[in-house]
Symmetry: C2
Subunit: 355 residues, 2 copies
DNA sequence: GCGTTTTAAGATAGCGTTAACAACAAGGCC
DNA sequence: GGCCTTGTTGTTAACGCTATCTTAAAACGC
């Protein structure tokens, strides 16, 4: 009666199901999955069709049991924004366990120290490295990796794929467009005198956000005023200084857009300290949508950057790149952002008058 | 931070190594590992000795391949403090992947809604449930679980083990002692008029912290002033109200201890809004040592609660309890806390005068 | 053409563990 | 003593995949 008393309850399709459907042997399927050479294109196609038809995906447990080389991915971090880091880590670990890859996470404080840590990581026998900001822009690290033949995924860089060396993959959002949208949103509320707090100048993503800000201004025909731009470093502390500076202006802005949530939170703090209400006296907007943005009050209007998903994507890209022994790694993913409106913005009280 | 030690390469000891050393069969070892009944104590001991000698640990991949029932642990959360939650989640996922158990995480907003969500989780076929605060005190959920015969681990409860029903495990710190130590620390700085912001009154851990505060006061012979105690809910928002209230007093406190970091951060914000410097005009202390405590400025002096470790412990206890099919689950872990001194406290400017 | 190399595909043997069942001893009951 | 329990231990066959070795087919050289 029973066809086969499978011990597993819900029997997902296995490699032999695929083999049967495709009319080839087990090994051929295995070869296709692992992207090995020596499979005729026609055969490969058949197998791929079968895989798609059955919606098959390899069982990681079996894979690692069978002695598939254990993949080890390194991650070098040094992030001033705790919220960003913890969410990134969350996504990383989650995907790593799902894909059965081993993560070697190493902290690396700022300074030229970073090259040493990277070297140490490579020496430890790593198959690839993931670099979240700010390390995603550390050229010294990047070239070290290339010399060692270790592929890398950089996350949240502002550099376009074309400008990237080979064997470097990337995951990012369109920072420029996001900042532009945010700025346009603030202008829609009637604000014309808008302050901007830059991110760490060493990061290209900061440049993109700044460009987006300026582009929106220009698109609306608002004259650019350099005094309304304050430098920042993505830290809460730097946001404090930047906000002080902007609000010290003889004609202070009615809205401030910060390049991340930490600095936006700092801006809210400074505003409160000066007796300004947020949002009725000052609109404050953040960037990234980290947990901090909903911790404080008022909760921040911000750009949601899918940090955990970006981390997951990075791990996945790296894992497949490593498994595909023959092919050379490459790939760039652009994820969607979205504007999250919360309570830190409001219409400008001065009704728009210019033009 | 290395996620999982490499097993491959110079082959780690396997179950058959253990069997050979112990002079028994494979299955007997397997039974001992999984704590099944029907193994004679003498045999069990021999096997355990062999395991210890070889430093053996089972290979999760093989285990799950061989059709070991996949353990599924549910987690019901509803935490107002984002920092707490994200760190808890981090620890949970980390340990889950290490132990090869599947986590089913379900959000459950407040209200009597929670019982339904729990029922749903049970219906989904869960082997156990982890309840971080505030759900760790939801008696309705707890009794539902007991009826269904599903074991539970409650985390960060203030309830002592004796007061816990059977089949409920717990992980916590000594909240009372921690609060007492913190209060004593603040008194050491010369403060005598110390405000206290309570946590959510539905949580027993809040009571323990409050008790610790009062005990320290009493120990120092300081008269207790009810006006210096403000209610709170562990949220930033509630901390704002509580701080306003305390600082509105005709003779405001020179130090405020909040029952968590979120409310402490809110207190700092309120102080700044009123032109008070922290710490020179007002000492503010938190509790939990979440990322928020180092995000803001000044960074908070706080009690380090090892949230991630507590989560890891909870997952581990649950996993072993489930694997030990025969034995009835039980166990209570008390982890260490520590006082972390940062920049939000300072000596009282009024030099101590009373007695 | 015929042997020789190259390439593509299949066959088989594990990887470390557990499920299912078989085997065996020790009691208990008539 | 025979026969069933009961409790403890052992045997065997998967689990889903990859390494490694073989074989079949194709390409090549002269």
């Amino acid at each position: 009666m029973t066809i086969r008393p499978s011990r597993r309850g819900s029997s997902a399709p296995t490699i032999s199901d695929v083999a049967r459907v495709a009319g080839v042997s087990l090994m051929t399927v295995s070869r296709v999955i692992n992207n090995e050479a020596n499979v005729r294109p026609a055969t490969r196609e058949k197998v791929e069709a079968a895989i798609a038809q059955l919606n098959y995906s390899p069982n990681p447990a079996a894979r690692s049991l069978a002695g598939a080389a254990q993949i080890r991915i390194g991650m070098l971090y040094s992030n001033p924004s705790q919220g960003f880091l913890s969410e990134f880590l969350l996504g990383t670990l989650d995907q790593a366990s799902r894909l059965d890859v081993q993560m070697v996470v190493e902290k690396c404080d700022i300074g030229d120290h970073e090259v040493e840590v990277a070297r140490h990581l490579i020496a430890g026998g790593i198959d690839g490295v993931i670099l979240p900001p700010p390390l995603c822009e550390a050229d010294a690290v990047l070239s070290l990796l290339r010399e060692a033949g270790v592929p890398a995924v950089v996350v949240a860089t502002g550099r376009p794929p074309e400008a990237m060396p080979d064997a470097v993959m990337s995951v990012r959002i369109d920072d420029r467009a996001a900042a532009e949208e945010m700025t346009r949103h603030v202008m829609t509320l009637g604000h014309r005198r808008i302050g901007f707090i830059c991110g760490n100048p060493n990061l290209t993503a900061s440049d993109r956000r700044y460009e987006g800000f300026r582009a929106a201004l220009e698109g609306a025909g608002i004259a650019f005023d350099e005094a309304l731009v304050a430098p920042g470093l993505y830290t809460y502390r730097s946001g404090l200084d930047a906000a002080e500076r902007l609000l010290d202006l003889s004609v202070p802005p009615t809205a401030i857009i910060a390049s991340n949530d930490d600095m936006a939170a700092a801006t809210v703090a400074v505003a409160h300290r000066r007796g300004l209400d947020v949002p009725s006296d000052l609109t404050v907007c953040g960037f990234d949508d980290t947990t901090l943005s909903t911790t404080i009050w008022p909760e921040l209007t911000t750009i949601h950057q899918p940090i955990a998903d970006m981390a997951r994507a990075a791990v996945e890209m790296m894992a497949t790149a490593i498994r595909q022994k023959s092919a050379e790694p490459a790939g760039h993913r652009l994820l969607d952002y979205s504007l999250i409106r919360r309570q830190s913005d409001a219409a400008s009280r001065r009704r728009p008058r210019e033009i």
